[in-house]
């Protein structure tokens, strides 16, 4: 049974550190490139960590800034001060 | 890519959409407000009746007794569509945010007289529920209004009211050091305190009004016509005498918003009253009824804050609403 959660982001300068952070924090993730966007799939769970993004950006980063770059998601959302997580309960 | 092509080869074939050109009277460039507003709402050939109210169409002129030959006679003088709306509000909010930051950093709340801090909790914080009611009412007007021009100003106003309810709530969190206790108490006051029951009854009665235009008048002309000067002018003045400068800063968003509301609302009332004597008579009746109710409902709170001055203040507020209405062709 498929348990793939997924996040699609615009492929631009704002999103690049987020994409990089996701790759760092989710070693099992698969990154698919499409024209102008990037779809990242992961089995069961995928996390975006504020700390990692901030490390890459060199500035404070509000998790809700994700809203500026997001294109689509699949999975249940858990949004907190310091992370954004997608998961399936199966 | 296009630079190689001479500009005379790429002349536009038309300047705007045809329904816009029709309203402009000629095919000429139109504003973003016009293209993003005029005739957006479907008008004919609806497929099904609402199962929630089978006696009406999805968009139905008969949901108010106000009649307009053309529901796009009104145009928002601020020319607000979504983009200009969010940019304008963000600008106001940025200023408000810097006030919050400054007050928090300099502990200006602590400079207020303790009595006045206590008083703010009893008059300002319960008002967040009034703002929430105003959100519901504007949402209802936006839902039932005919035509995009009016529906969208009401939707913007609805979101604004949620925003202001949240600003007031943040004042509470400043006063109670983020415990939320002041907000809990404010809700108890809203539900139980005698000071507030007239207001709450008025708001709840407005929730069940049938005619959306009456609701728009009741909320935005009459109730707001009392609340904005009373809370953000007269109460603020009373506060300054008790070290309440911080509140003058935090009231800025609401003061600016109140001015902004008048700009579209007065224009809407003006074109609606000018359309026909019947419209003007309806508006006058509604304005008179709800101004009376609003003044009466808020009088106990005015007394609570202003004491003996309250009667004079309320009568000058009433006079101001009457004067504004008259300018729009409405006799109260």
């Amino acid at each position: 049974m498929s348990r793939i959660v997924s996040i699609t982001l615009q492929n631009n300068d704002d999103a690049r550190p987020i994409i990089e952070a996701i790759e760092k924090d989710n070693p099992d993730a698969t990154v698919n490139l499409y024209p102008a966007m990037v779809k990242i799939d992961c089995d069961g769970r995928l996390i975006v960590k504020q700390e990692t993004v901030e490390g890459l950006l060199g500035r404070e980063w509000d998790v809700q800034e994700l809203h500026l770059s997001i294109v689509s998601i699949a999975g249940n959302v858990d949004e907190e001060d310091d992370y954004f997580e997608l998961s399936w309960n199966i | 890519m296009s630079l190689e092509i001479k500009t005379n080869v790429i002349q536009p074939r038309r300047h705007t959409y045809s329904h816009i050109a029709k309203r402009l009277g000629a095919d000429k460039p139109a504003t973003r407000y016009q293209e993003g507003t005029w005739d957006l709402q479907p008008t004919v050939n609806f497929h099904y009746r609402p199962t929630w109210k089978p006696d009406q169409e999805l968009y139905d002129k008969s949901l108010t007794s106000i009649q307009m030959e053309d529901w796009y006679t009104f145009n928002d003088p601020r020319q607000m569509y979504y983009g200009t709306y969010t940019m304008a509000r963000h600008k106001m909010m940025e200023a408000e945010e810097s006030h919050f930051k400054f007050i928090d950093k300099s502990n200006m709340i602590g400079l207020m007289d303790a009595d006045w801090q206590q008083k703010i909790k009893t008059f300002l914080l319960p008002l967040r529920h009034f703002e929430w009611g105003a959100n519901m009412n504007n949402c209802d007007c936006s839902d039932k209004a005919y035509g995009t021009a009016i529906s969208q100003v009401a939707l913007f106003a609805a979101m604004d009211r949620l925003g202001m309810a949240q600003i007031i709530s943040r004042v509470g969190l400043l006063l109670d050091d983020n415990t939320g206790k002041s907000l809990d108490q404010a809700k108890v006051d809203w539900l139980e305190s005698d000071l507030w029951q007239g207001v709450r009854k008025m708001v709840e009665d407005s929730f069940v009004l049938d005619d959306w235009f009456e609701l728009l008048v009741a909320q935005n002309l009459c109730m707001d016509g009392v609340v904005f000067p009373l809370f953000y002018h007269y109460f603020e003045d009373a506060g300054i005498r008790q070290g309440g400068t911080a509140m003058s800063m935090l009231n800025e968003f609401m003061q600016d918003w109140g001015k902004d509301e008048k700009r579209w609302l007065d224009q809407l009332l003006k074109v609606t009253a000018a359309e026909s004597a019947e419209n003007a008579a309806l508006l006058s009746k509604w304005a008179a009824t709800w101004t009376e109710r609003a003044v009466t409902a808020f009088t106990p709170i005015a007394k609570h804050v202003l004491g003996d001055e309250a009667a004079d203040v309320m009568s000058s507020i009433r006079a101001e609403i009457t004067k504004r209405a008259k300018k729009s062709g409405i006799e109260i």
Partner: protein, 505 residues
Amino acid sequence: MAEKRKKKLGIKQRYSMLTRGLGWDTTYQPMDKVFPYDNYEGIIIHDWEGWEDPFRLTMDAYWKFQSEKEKKLYAVIDSFAQNNGHLGITDARYVNAIKLFLTGVSPLEYQAARGFTHVGRQFRGVGPRVACQMQAIDELRHVQTQIHSMSHYNKFFDGLHSAPHMHDRVWYLSVPKSFFDDARTAGPFEFLTSISFAFEYVLTNLLFVPFMSGAAFNGDMATVTFGFSAQSDEARHMTLGLEVIKFMLEQDERNIPIVQRWMDKWFWRGTRMLTLVGMMMDYMLPKRVMSWREAWDIYFTEAGGALFADLARYGIKPPKYADIATKEAEHISHQAWNIFYNYTHAAAFHTWIPEKEELDWLSEKYPDTFDKYYRPRLEYLDKEEKAGRRFYNDILPMLCQVCQIPMGFTDMDDPTTISFHSSEYQGNKYHTCSHGCKDIFDYEPEKYVQAWLPVHQIYQGNCGGAEVPDVLKWYNFNLGADNMEYQGSPDQKLWDEWQAHRKKA
């Protein structure tokens, strides 16, 4: 003055205080009178506080992020217009996808804005109400940014000048219009199931993601920008869709069969409407990103599979006829293009026979069906056209009573036989195109008999006159410009002229 230690508020707690705490139970007026519409559908809610807010945006953050998005978007729109960005697209045929979008999809964004405003007032829970209101204003954003982005195309191409007028009248636009009218005239919970869940969560990726990626591939930067900018709101909307489903299912087990029936209905209605998108992707993009079939596999089979596996714990099954829809993904775009090729004299966009490389691409993407059923037809029509006999069908088609698409789809196991179904209701016979549409009709015939079916209306004389040209004038078509074959159209001539000048330079 000593600094006081303040409690730091987490995002959830802060949001709850600033939003959920605002509501109260009315006592001067009964709650059922203040919120009259949220309990007639049979959905049982024991505790509105059980609602989990999908996202926690307070208005300050909303204004901040949204204004930033708008600033970026309008900068692109301005520069697109100033630099004549329309000259940078791959081919003028591409603009026909934009025409279908502006007349078929953008008006739905407006309908969504009004629909979410309605439920944003009508739910008695504060959480869902705020989420719906935010979506309402987002949807207003979408329709306005689309109109503003496409305003430039309207200045140079046909078929874009009268979207609202056409949406209310034109035969194929009654497909998307009736879809939304259906959702909006349903109760608030069904509305959210239809739009937020079935459409936004399950199907919207099929509309926006490949289409916007396609726009990028075809040099249409204005559409890419509004598309992606709109999608950034969509993530919030999708989450609302999933939340409302979980909320209903968790509140009472008697809600389960109601929710399942709605899912079945709206999945089917949604896939029918998306036929138009499949056709755009396979036929209208000069440079193609992925086929409709591939998009279906990624966004329905894979993403939908995980979703329905997740919902299985509530006793929810994948939508009825999902298997048929998956089979249809092999056929539907070809059959739809064929319908529009037949009737392009009555459409506000052009059709054409794909070029050889494009046919080869379709053969490659649809190895089991395209060469067997569809390529020979297209090649035959191409020959006819080249011989000066471009085929137009002058007989008005019968429409499905539910989805309102002409009855041109076939049985999926027998792709040369048209699929016909019918039902009797109060002495009249009603026709449907599929088991899915027939089920929908049979459950609520009193609703679907009301449908404003364009062909019936034309025959009843309600659409400007008895002859096709009268009807087209009533549609506000510029005859010979908005409609007919692409080859020889004013759009094509102008495009070729621009290209010739470019070569000279």
